[in-house]
Amino acid sequence: MNQLQNFSKGLLRENPILVLVLGTCPTLAVTTSAINGFSMGLAVTFVLAMSNMFISLLKNFISDDIRIPAFIVIIATFVTIVDLSLQAYIPSLYESLGLFIPLIVVNCIVLGRAEAFASKNDVFSSIIDGLGMGIGYAIALTVLGMLREFLGTLSIFNYKIFSGDGALMFIMAPGAFICLGFLMAIANMLVKKLK
């Protein structure tokens, strides 16, 4: 497959959040602000690209029967790396993302890409696939974060756009569900148009 196509499919056509609906838990939980969504997206991109690379490298050595536990161990290793590095270098971010960093392990996207792509393709395309999917995830998270931050506090990336207070509800739980619902509907329509 064309590498460019391979990269760009994750951005909209097979966007992990908006179209495939994988990994919704962290999506809803961390997008209280644009910057949180963006950082979570980066963390997932790192884990996706690295675990895709290693799984693709090791695919001939892992027997089929134990491949799922083996994949989980590889993914958990990179998640632990992200977890400990964030804790050491960016403690404020670690604080706000909290529980959802270790929970990248059970994020369906990572295991899904390992199983559906990295275990069947060569190393280079697997890295590209991981990066594309990860960036698609990060874009969706950032957009959702921006939307919620704007509606909730009238600012984006902590930069005040309008003065006054927003509707606080959008920062809290109900707003997360409702915003994602509408964002998904828009993405559905875009995808349909592209076809």
Binding site: V21, L22, T24, C25, P26, L28, A29, I68, P69, I72, V73, A76, T77, V79, T80, D83, L84, L99, P102, L103, V105, V106, N107, C108, L111, M169, M172, A173, P174, G175, A176, F177, I178, L180, G181, F182, M184, A185, I186, N188, M189, K192
Partner: protein, 190 residues
């Protein structure tokens, strides 16, 4: 008193799905029918309590004892995955009717982030073993409560006339948002 606070706050105030955002995948995925929602809830209750118990013991008697806390994520997910597998095998052998009822939901639970999340939260909140068990059981009851309510609403929604682009997951998410808003009424209860 402490136990009552744990129970009330984890079922209503900090509902696992609607305010902590754990276990959204099964919440959206298996909530189309009330029957399947009940089956899933029972399986989650069973696995969550068992997993919290086992991971608590491992954390305190293996990881803490040997200073291996950095292996927490890795150990917990492997323990949960193998636990689910064991439960499946044991149930198949000794309680076939229960296996029939829970069977198809068990493999799905491995990737239910609520199970791993609650195991980690129990450690973070420094609960003792009994508190951990009460906590995980009430979280699972809260999950069941939200899931079954939501399934009931979705069954009714089948007949509603939904705009083209909103069909399926988007409208389900908006509904979940309204349900979450209703649950916010419980805040301040504890």
């Amino acid at each position: 008193m402490k136990y009552i606070i744990i129970i009330i706050s984890s079922i209503f105030v900090n509902n696992v799905v609607l305010s902590q955002f754990l276990g959204i995948c099964p919440f959206i995925g298996v909530s189309k029918k009330v029957n399947t929602a009940v089956g899933m809830s029972a399986a989650v209750l069973f696995v969550m309590v068992l997993a919290t118990m086992v991971t608590w013991l491992i954390q305190h008697y293996v990881l803490d004892a040997f200073g291996l806390q950095f292996l927490q994520t890795l150990t917990f997910i492997l323990v949960i995955a193998s636990l689910v597998q064991i439960v499946e095998i044991v149930l198949k052998k000794i309680a076939p009717p229960l296996y029939q009822a829970l069977g198809i939901f068990l493999p799905l639970i491995t990737t239910n982030c609520a199970v791993l999340g609650i195991a980690i939260l129990t450690i973070q909140k420094e609960y003792n073993l009994l508190e951990g068990i009460v906590y995980s059981a009430s979280i699972a009851v809260g999950f069941a409560f939200a899931l079954i309510l939501f399934a009931g609403i979705r069954e009714q929604m089948e007949t509603a006339n939904v705009p083209e682009g909103m069909k399926g997951t988007p409208i389900a998410l908006v509904t979940a948002g309204l349900l979450a808003m209703a649950f916010m009424g419980f805040s301040g209860l504890v």
